[in-house]
Symmetry: C2
Subunit: 252 residues, 2 copies
Amino acid sequence: MSIYISKSAQDDGFKPCAHDYQVHCGNCRLNSICLPLSLESDDIQQLDDIIQRSKPLKKGQHLYREGDDFQSVYAVRSGTLKAYKTTDDGREQVTGFYFPGEILGMDGISKNTHASSASTLETSAVCEIPFSSLAKLSALMPNLQRHFFQLMSREITDDQVLITLLSKNSADERVAALLLSISARNARRKLSSTHFRLPMSRVDIGNYLGLTVETVSRVLSRMQKMELLCVDNKEIEILDMPGVRNMANVAS
Amino acid sequence: MSIYISKSAQDDGFKPCAHDYQVHCGNCRLNSICLPLSLESDDIQQLDDIIQRSKPLKKGQHLYREGDDFQSVYAVRSGTLKAYKTTDDGREQVTGFYFPGEILGMDGISKNTHASSASTLETSAVCEIPFSSLAKLSALMPNLQRHFFQLMSREITDDQVLITLLSKNSADERVAALLLSISARNARRKLSSTHFRLPMSRVDIGNYLGLTVETVSRVLSRMQKMELLCVDNKEIEILDMPGVRNMANVAS
DNA sequence: TAATTCACTTGATGCAAATCAATGCACATT
DNA sequence: AATGTGCATTGATTTGCATCAAGTGAATTA
């Protein structure tokens, strides 16, 4: 499962773009929401040195599978991924979606084996961060250590939010909450919070939210009828943000 | 919210017992499943030095509340605690139960604020571990760092299991799975895996599993009728372990 | 001893979402 | 143009669990 590539390959006349795997942490436009956050520039250089950048992965390819040896965590550079667990009776449970700047794979640390699988929802590029190097480096850089602890803790709190959503909220509330989450994560990356393309299928949405495809589809139709959204397949436009928040039943 | 006590208080003619707060990491019978795991004895001493032991907390007392400043994580020494989130509309979602040897509070790291509340289900004692000291120490002790990363990762994987349970499993499967989880955690502490007392109420069980009290009660009655269990209020005896596993729909 | 409370159980009914089934639509293949 | 395939939508029916309501038993108090 090695995705390392030679860094020296293809170095000239190459404009940075979404999938560009030559961009370094120092000049990556995601570094304010990724691991380098709060590092000094010479610390960033050291972090940069341990990071392996991969060729873009095509839609549907796996980054790792449940049970694989755990070696690295991954930062999404472009595209979107989903993480999912397979139940004993063979069904899938999507446990998270990962957008550019976000880190996945931390669930593998506990048993040195990936506890979930991760695959791309569209063409995507990732930075591979060997965990043993990251651990060594974070023992030397308090800021890095703190940031990584925070990232793991963030994963825990995100999971708890999902637990609550699944346990306490209606289909309408779940779908509205997911749309708001995606909207907020787009805003963090300076993209539109009201007009975006869902990178995942209805099946994945339903799977993540504990609903069937049909229910997801019905909720979206209803939201469109209520003029909260304009839905065109994967293209979503939020027309009435307070209305959506109200449907999600959240305070903020 | 300080629960520190003077270590020198009450030091003589004191036999160690479940709630004894004088026991140190080095001679704590839980140290094989708690933080000290895999530390050398002089490292254990250093860890021991930063740990604050508290008087036992009475049933229903809070260790921390959602929104409190995050200072420490806690190891359960005796008793049981629950962690829960409060939803925007004021309802509770229990996110976990914590038995002796287990660590809670790690969800506070990400925002420096506790993301959930924790209260005791019965008289309990905890060890308070100031996080800043733990972070400093773990930068110096690779084994401690690794172990703490693993604990956090474990929290993530446990949450993912709960997510899957809530999203994909029936009421029967959820209740059976919780019983198996408690059974396994008892076994880890060398207690009976087949005969134990549930420390939490039916309300808490239902809340944790996304079910109403009535449903929990019915499932337990059904399991008794099927002769999988013997239920006497909180006292549980598992009569047919393969049967319970079968009901939970899990492989192991 | 009776009364109050609390945690739990049991039964009857209703509803939200699953399931089953059909159809529509975009896009690729031939 | 015809055919297939994957994804999304919509409608009809079923069902598992919530809800509502009442009842039990043990512990606590009067």
